[in-house]
């Protein structure tokens, strides 16, 4: 518990430092916002198509799909704003030997390697746009949202984020062996967009694979399913247990992979 508290305080300091550094180079801060707005445009086009056709997607009305889309945007906040850029940098640190500096620090290496830098401009834009989309969807449907719904929604968002962190860190473990994993990271990153639309659009087999084998759909579909009272009991159990299973598995593989690390520095 003491270790967790220490790391949480440290994470707060790292986020603060990143913000200070971003505000020093303000162009990065504002162009980061512009980039996220651009990505939002590219994603919202899907919603434009769905609203224009006005056709329910496998039983989901366009307003319900908007709730899924908003949840996807909210979940993209922590993914793109808090750890994705660190994951993309793992290969470079292994390649250049920069990892040595982190190895000697008296904190978890996985923590430092994956949460060192953050971008609050990206995080804030995505989360705010996501909240707006979810709110619009719920208001249009006139769905009453109670405290329990909100807590459950937040809980599944957190567990989804933990699954996302674990899943997207996993390919980076290969960096200890392959060294250069940029293209692989880019390929895996593009799979994030599978959450752009509800998993209901996919076939049953794809849904089961996306929930239980490579749980990409757990990340954003489960919170929205819970909020819309469409959550299956088995999914609820997996939504709680899955993140712990994946986090422990990834941490174990990370430590295993680290044994292959050979410092490249002089």
């Amino acid at each position: 518990m003491k270790e967790i508290k220490k790391h949480l305080i440290l994470w707060g300091l790292l986020i603060h430092n990143s913000l200070m550094s971003q505000l020093e180079y303000r162009a990065n801060f504002f162009t980061g916002i512009a980039m996220e707005l651009g990505y939002f445009l590219a994603k919202i086009v899907y919603m434009i198509v769905i609203y224009k056709t006005g056709v329910p997607i496998n039983g989901l009305t366009p307003d319900e799909v908007l709730v899924f889309f908003g949840t996807y945007m909210i979940a993209t906040g922590p993914y793109a704003g808090l750890y994705m850029m660190n994951l993309f940098d793992v290969g470079r640190q292994v390649q250049t030997g920069d990892l040595d500096l982190l190895l000697v620090k008296p904190v978890s290496l996985q923590f430092m390697l994956t949460l060192k830098r953050s971008d609050l401009s990206i995080f804030t834009v995505d989360v705010l746009l996501g909240i707006a989309a979810v709110t619009v969807g719920l208001v249009r449907m006139a769905v009453p949202v109670g405290l329990l719904d909100m807590l459950g929604y937040l809980g599944f968002l957190l567990s989804g984020s933990l699954i996302a962190y674990s899943m997207f860190l996993l390919p980076q473990v290969l960096a200890f062996r392959l060294v250069k994993t940029n293209s692989l990271a880019g390929l895996v990153d593009s799979s994030w967009d599978f959450n752009n639309l509800p998993m209901g659009i996919y076939s049953r087999l794809v849904q089961q694979i996306g929930v239980f084998v490579l749980p990409i759909f757990v990340i954003t579909n489960f919170p929205a399913l819970f909020l819309l009272h469409k959550m299956e009991p088995l999914y609820a159990v997996w939504g709680i247990a899955g993140p712990f299973v994946w986090f422990l598995l990834t941490s174990f593989l990370f430590r295993l992979g680290l044994k292959h690390y050979q410092s490249a520095s002089s």
Binding site: F30, T31, L37, G38, K52, S190
Partner: protein, 267 residues
Amino acid sequence: MKKYLYALSLGIKETMAYRADFWLGIASAAFPIIIQVFMWQALYSGSGGGALFGRSYAQMLAYSVSASILWRLLKTGFEYEINEDIKNGGLSKYIVRPIEYLPYRLHCFLGQKIGVLFSGLMLMTLALTGVGLSFHVSPVSLQGVLLFLPTLLGALVLNFLIFFCVGMWAFWLSEIGFLFEAVRIVIVVLSGGIFPLEVFGTAVGGALKLLPFTYAVGFPVDVLTGTVTGPAVLTGLCFQLAWIGLMVVISRFLWNLGSRKYLAAGG
């Protein structure tokens, strides 16, 4: 001319050296294609199988597949190199050499694209064949393919010129940050790289077709898939050529204006 042909061959060699990177980039097109296939399947089955946005299911899939692959094939990246050249003084070497910057960059870009275009088009053919076999239709005709080739060449040059102009911003902006990426995403959407412009409605879609971006992706794909036929192809080609001409003028103007601000920093 010989020096620019050398730049062209340099571009080809560079692409061949990093071909795995190119293929992984193309492989990332598979995910949006899969998402769109499932989305359109759900929408068309929900609408009773009729046409949506003036296209049948097979035509829409043919568009999605072709547009997703095409914009990745034509994707630039040299704007970051221009930014580096301007910021670190790398531009100085082009001032003292008997070579013009714009044609040099164009030939490097064309060389890079020649290296991947053939294999990329083969992949597009395979994907379209898959669509054709699934629906027992022919999503492209021989006439469409023949007309597509000149529009593709035009799209290649137009795409280069658009991003060359974007790269020129580096003369005035001290920090670029994520700006190029932001512009790229917006251009992909406006060019019809994700969905055909008809999804924006008649007024907005019509207005967007007056801009140069659609002639970099949407128009060639429409010609290939037979959505644009007959005299409309010629009209579109005239628009594409006109935009190329105008973008050459704008590129040269920005280059002349920007190079006066160039400080030749660095060694």
